[in-house]
Amino acid sequence: MIENIKILYHQGKQYIPNLRTVEAPGIFRGRPIIKLENVDNEALKDCCPTQAIAINPVQIDLGKCTFCGECAIAFPNKINFTKDYKIATNSLEGLIVKEGDDKPITLNADLIRSEIHRYFKGSLKLRQVSAGGDGSCELELGACSNVNFDMGRYGIEFVASPRHADGIVITGPITENMAKPLQTAYEAIPEPKIVILCGVDAISGGIFVGSPALNRNILKNLKVDLYVPGNPIHPLTFINGVLDLIGKK
């Protein structure tokens, strides 16, 4: 018993007091800023592994970006990734950063269904389904609930059964072999339910675009409430995105 208390004492306080404002350590690559500088556009487009960069005007689609930073390394005067981790949003247009833009990425309030705030502000239970995910987003979603990030403080938790869940969090590019189980899990969640796509693989297919082993048809019929970019997502991006969605200050 005394041993246990000693350990607790040695660990001290590990939780991050304010998840809304804490600074990400190191060289976190979050929201990019694209300057209006002229560069070799074709070379810029070509250095991206996932065709996330479009030209005329130059823009980056965060739904396709793996945040590898290759473009910023090759064209440091053109592209710079800031430490802004609040990059989750609720529309595909919202994920596109154009050259000259330097404004925070926010959720489009008009697209948030009114019941989401009413029902889920105080408590949100989520069911996670990995559909071809490589395990990295899954590790980071697990980390959301650890003692550092402690997402549970907001009443947001992952649950085991879809019947107990208010929403589904999908990771991975959605494989053919996982398409049906994913559909079954989605249908098992009672209405009203929210849908969150987590990570570049889930949002656009990421590096797996063009693979015949995928089947992304389920997304045609889903209303997605939140897109969380990243490869993998950072816990701070996920938690802040969900808090904005359910309207928690």
Binding site: C68, G69, E70, S136, G142, K180
Partner: protein
């Protein structure tokens, strides 16, 4: 001579690999496995006109060599199987059967491996897997998955139980199949392939990407500086510390030991946060690149890393001492999920799962490259083969990796970037690369055509060998002990399904 003798990270012309008649090919490779120092690291087929050309790679752990042999077989003929003699070939032959429809006359069960989109028989689909059944009024079946209770990847477990006791477990995988091996051929840009390697398995980013870049540099005759190799090895050992620590947390969770679960969980954080400080990604994606590194380990980073390890180590030791002396934990860990040495050898287990049952198998000592040659790595071995052994081995390997990183950091002086990429691969060549990831040996093989383009990219995650070990280890256990048994192996679904 029936085989060519290669070293780790060596390329040879495909024509220099001897082609034997199937009967001789089988006798040669199966007789190699009689010796304990030999094991199969990869065995695969590739279309060759209308036939299938098989390549078998057997590693010899004493001579530090890999024996590669080949044979050409016909799709319409049935062949005797290697698995009849050695179970270690079981899954490789199932994969060859699944992809090319090769029939084996005496294979124990030619069941689908991963329902790859390239499978020969499209009638087979993941919903109609032929599970093993026993007719009995006393037994019952328990089906779990593909979607599990936690935030983990999908796979289906089918238990046959007698009351609470597991008689038999069968694991069906394939849900994560993304067609990665094929994408390596489909995507032509190096950065695309480099990114693909990072996305094979999210918990072994450094391991798989190192295997990829080592292989690519071998095939393209790219020389990289010792400092870059050193960066990669430090990253690999750091990944081992992070995942082993996280797994100890998971094992504590599964035996309801809250303190260990929380403390080990939080101890993983500074290690993966260091990856973020180093390369901007907590799991090390974007760190390893062919012929270069975008993120050299600068002297400030080295100082930070040393101070992180200095703080990490006493906390880790304290928590380990406590965990491995807590009776409720030990009661669940000891004698649970035993994999005996003999069964382990028969299956051909690799990595940590082999070492915990006293099989000395570690690429860092048996097929070392770069600084591993001078480290004279001594694998940590445990003899009981139970959950406790798998916990102990993690504890000691973390300590060993910390020691290695401290040693290697003193050798680093480099801070400059360099870029040395030869885009052209050698034509008509074969190369193999082995890396000891935290889970075990990762093997990547590639074959090029006459224009130096990839003809085949073959990935083998250690989980490919080890899933069978999990099913064998839970027999006669209580079904309630399955979660802890499973977590203690912590095998990869996506690494298996590709």
């Amino acid at each position: 001579m029936s085989a060519i003798v290669l070293k780790n990270n060596q390329q040879v012309p495909v024509t220099s690999i001897p082609v034997s008649d199937y009967q001789d090919f089988m006798i040669f490779n199966t007789s190699l496995l009689k010796l304990e120092e030999n094991h199969c690291v990869n065995y695969f087929g590739i279309p060759d006109n209308k036939n299938i050309k098989l390549f078998c790679c057997i590693a010899n752990d004493i001579n530090q060599t890999i024996l590669v042999s080949s044979s050409i077989i016909n799709q319409d003929t049935s062949y005797p199987s290697f698995s009849e003699k050695y179970l270690a070939f079981e899954k490789f032959e199932r994969e060859i059967h699944e992809n090319y429809g090769i029939n084996y006359t005496n294979h124990p069960w030619l069941k689908p491996v991963r329902y790859s989109f390239t499978r020969k028989n499209k009638e087979n689909n993941i919903a109609n897997y032929p599970f093993f059944k026993i007719e009995s009024e006393e037994l019952h079946e328990v089906g779990v998955g593909p979607i599990h209770a936690g935030i983990i990847e999908p796979g289906h477990f089918r238990f046959l139980c007698n009351g609470e006791q597991i008689l038999h477990l069968e694991i069906q995988l394939g849900y994560q199949h993304r067609g990665i091996e094929n994408l390596f051929l489909q995507k032509k840009k190096l950065i695309e392939r480099n990114t693909l390697a990072e996305n094979i398995a999210g918990d072994s980013v450094i391991g798989h990407t190192t295997a990829f870049v080592n292989l690519w540099e071998t095939l393209s005759n790219t020389e990289v500086s010792e400092e870059i190799m050193l960066n990669r090895i430090i990253a690999l050992e750091l990944e081992r510390i992070a995942v082993h620590t996280g797994d100890l947390s998971g094992m504590c969770t599964d035996v309801a030991f809250q303190l260990g679960s929380a403390v080990f969980g939080r101890l993983r954080t500074p290690i993966i946060n260091f990856f973020q400080q180093w390369c901007g990604n907590r799991l090390g994606k974007s760190l390893i690149r062919v012929g270069t590194t975008n993120f050299p380990l600068t002297s400030e980073l080295r100082t930070t890393l040393i101070s992180i390890l200095d703080k990490f180590e006493p906390d880790f030791d304290e928590m380990c001492n406590n965990t491995f002396h807590t009776p409720t934990v030990m009661g669940r860990f000891e004698k649970t999920g035993i994999l005996t040495n003999q069964v382990g050898k028969d299956i051909g287990v690799v990595g940590m799962a082999a070492r915990m049952t006293n099989i000395n198998r570690d690429i860092r000592s048996s097929h070392p490259y770069s600084y591993y040659t001078s480290l004279a790595h001594q694998p940590i071995l445990k003899g009981h083969g139970d959950v406790h052994s798998r916990g102990q081995i993690r504890r000691e390997e973390v300590k060993q990796s910390i020691h290695y990183i401290r040693t290697l950091l003193t050798k680093l002086t480099f801070e400059q970037k360099e870029k040395n990429v030869n885009p052209k691969l050698s034509p008509n060549s074969f190369a193999i690369s082995l890396v000891e990831g935290w889970r075990g040996e990762i093997c990547h093989c590639a074959i090029t055509n006459e224009n130096g383009e990839l003809l085949l990219y073959k990935i083998k995650d250690p989980s490919f060998h080890n899933w069978l070990a999990l099913t064998m280890s839970v027999r006669n256990n209580e079904i309630s002990d399955f979660p802890i048994g499973n977590k203690s192996f912590d095998l990869s679904y996506c690494g298996h399904d590709l």
